[in-house]
């Protein structure tokens, strides 16, 4: 039985105190490919790198990939970054901009590809895939406990090779009725903390179908100290019969 994804929501919010243009998260959805990337705030032009990663993943077809294909794909993204950087470097840039560019940009990433009946996820860092099935959490990948956030995650660098152990790959069944969420780290941590406290955070995620819904939830949870102040990205799909 073939499946198809139905988009419920895709959107992003900058951390409180930052302007929209300063958001360093990026996301992309295209048919059966979805991805989010969380640019490291320590980096410069992280939003450019996050954007390259998210878009490039959705331009490709990752359902059949193993690790080797993913690493090749990263190299292609790094070449795109290098071209972009070369163009930028033609400008008359301040000394600190050049210094920082030399360090490169970094991002956490999760990409999801759907095939006829399966999902395939590729993760580097602490962006997560959450799967809700039959009113319960069927999957939380690659992080399963709220305690595991905050340790230095492995990130995808724009100018250095990704370490082998930094990539995590998983595949699973996708069943009609499943809800799949790609979430950036602050929201993932919020979700898992709620789950560990016996709550049903997926009920709240299911109510989000507009930017205003996301803003309202995020604002309320931040105010209560339940959601760390950080950029937030959410991509929500539901699996339907084809």
């Amino acid at each position: 039985m073939a499946i198809r994804p139905v988009t419920r929501f895709a959107g992003t919010l900058p951390k409180a105190g930052n302007a929209e243009a300063e958001c360093e998260d990026a996301f992309c959805l295209a048919g059966s490919q979805l991805a989010i990337a969380d640019g490291a705030s320590e980096g410069s032009y992280s939003q450019v790198w996050a954007g390259i990663l998210a878009r490039a993943f959705c331009d490709d077809d990752a359902a059949g990939w193993q690790e080797a294909e993913f690493f090749s794909w990263i190299e292609a993204c790094q070449r795109e970054w290098s071209t972009w950087e070369r163009d930028l470097a033609q400008k008359d840039l301040p000394w600190f901009t050049r210094d920082k560019l030399r360090q490169g940009a970094f991002a956490a990433f999760i990409g999801l590809a759907l095939s006829a009946s399966e999902w395939h996820a590729f993760a580097c860092g602490d962006c997560c895939l959450l799967i809700i099935r039959d009113d319960a959490v069927a999957e939380s990948f690659p992080i399963e406990r709220s305690d595991d956030f905050g340790n230095l995650p492995s990130l995808i660098a724009s100018t250095r090779p990704v370490l082998d152990h930094a990539l995590q790959v998983r595949t699973g069944e996708a069943l009609p009725g499943d809800r799949l969420y790609l979430v950036s780290d602050a929201l993932a941590c919020w979700f898992l903390t709620g789950l560990e406290n016996g709550e049903r955070p997926w009920d709240l995620l299911a109510t989000i179908v507009s930017d205003a819904d996301l803003a309202s939830l995020v604002s309320s949870e931040r105010q209560q100290g339940r959601l760390r102040n950080d950029d937030v990205t959410l991509v929500a799909i539901e699996i339907a019969d084809d």
């Binding site: 951390k15 105190g17 930052n18 300063e22 705030s41 320590e42 410069s44 032009y45 840039l93 301040p94 000394w95 600190f96 901009t97 050049r98 210094d99 920082k100 360090q103 102040n229 950080d230």
Partner: protein, 279 residues
């Protein structure tokens, strides 16, 4: 929990460097063969640190004002250490530091060429602080000025991460016991906690450096014990950073280094100025 305030443009934090510029700073570090004085080496350390702080705050072609920075120099005279458009103020925002080095020096370094070899890379080394060395060591007066500066800053930034004062000296005070004024600095506080005072003593002899000691018993003389007592104990996060860098630290470890050589001085200042994720 103290020292947990977010460092952001709305709630910046501050660093104040209090730098000994006495005559003895014209001597080299013990055992040094570079022919450079402690004053010259220290000026390089401060310039590199300012460069690091600027780069940390850089986003694209802008610099976000996460920090206010001040430099006080003391020796023959006592005054603000930054020059030009930055002169005459206790603190300047990091963006102004970024755009106002006194000069950009052109330097060369060797970098990997990607094919197993090395290639020359020209880069710009910004300079804000030039070496000075003459006169005595009016430590009390200098720390008194530092105390006024952070007190005034804290009063205007009550929700910010507390000030960090890094005092660098190569010898004893010539204007009395600095302990009382050091305690006054450490009594300055924001809602997030008391100011931190770290003391970095630069070596005059070839004795081994002692960094982040946890007790007076580890120290060789009265002067070291005095500076130790003046230093703030390392807060948890900084202690973890120090441990990650290979230092043997414990609960009582203080932000103090005695007999530091150049390498140790750089490591000490680097650890003392690390802040958690800049937002």
């Amino acid at each position: 929990m103290p020292y947990s305030a977010e460092v952001s443009r709305a709630t910046p934090s501050c660093f104040l460097f209090v730098i000994d510029q006495s005559g003895s700073m014209s001597d080299p570090f013990a055992g040094s063969s570079t022919g450079r004085s402690k004053a010259e080496e220290l000026a390089d350390v401060i310039n590199r640190l300012l460069q690091t702080l600027v780069t940390r705050c850089a986003k694209g072609e802008e610099v976000r004002d996460y920090f206010d920075v001040g430099v006080i120099g003391y020796g023959q005279s006592l005054g603000h250490g930054l020059q030009g458009p930055l002169a005459g103020r206790d603190f300047v925002p990091i963006s102004q530091i970024a755009f106002n080095p006194v000069r950009l020096e052109s330097r060369n370094r060797k970098v990997p060429d990607g094919a197993g070899g090395l290639v020359d890379q020209n880069f710009q080394f910004p300079v804000w602080f030039d070496p000075v060395h003459s006169g005595g060591t009016p430590m009390c007066e200098a720390l008194g000025r530092a105390k006024s500066a952070v007190e005034s800053w804290a009063a205007g930034h009550m929700t910010s991460y507390p000030p960090t004062v890094i005092h660098v000296t190569d010898g004893e005070s010539t204007d009395g016991d600095p302990s009382p004024v050091a305690q006054q600095i450490r009594a300055v506080a924001t809602a997030d906690g008391p100011a931190c005072l770290y003391n970095l003593h630069l070596s005059s002899t070839a004795a081994k450096p002692i960094t982040f000691p946890a007790s007076e018993s580890e120290l060789p003389d009265e002067f070291a014990r005095l500076l130790f007592a003046m230093s703030t104990p390392l807060q948890d996060r900084i202690r973890r950073e120090a441990a990650a860098e290979g230092y043997a630290v414990s609960d009582g470890s203080r932000g103090f280094a005695f007999n530091a050589d150049l390498v140790e001085a750089i490591r000490f200042i680097d650890i003392g100025t690390r802040v958690s994720g800049l937002r």
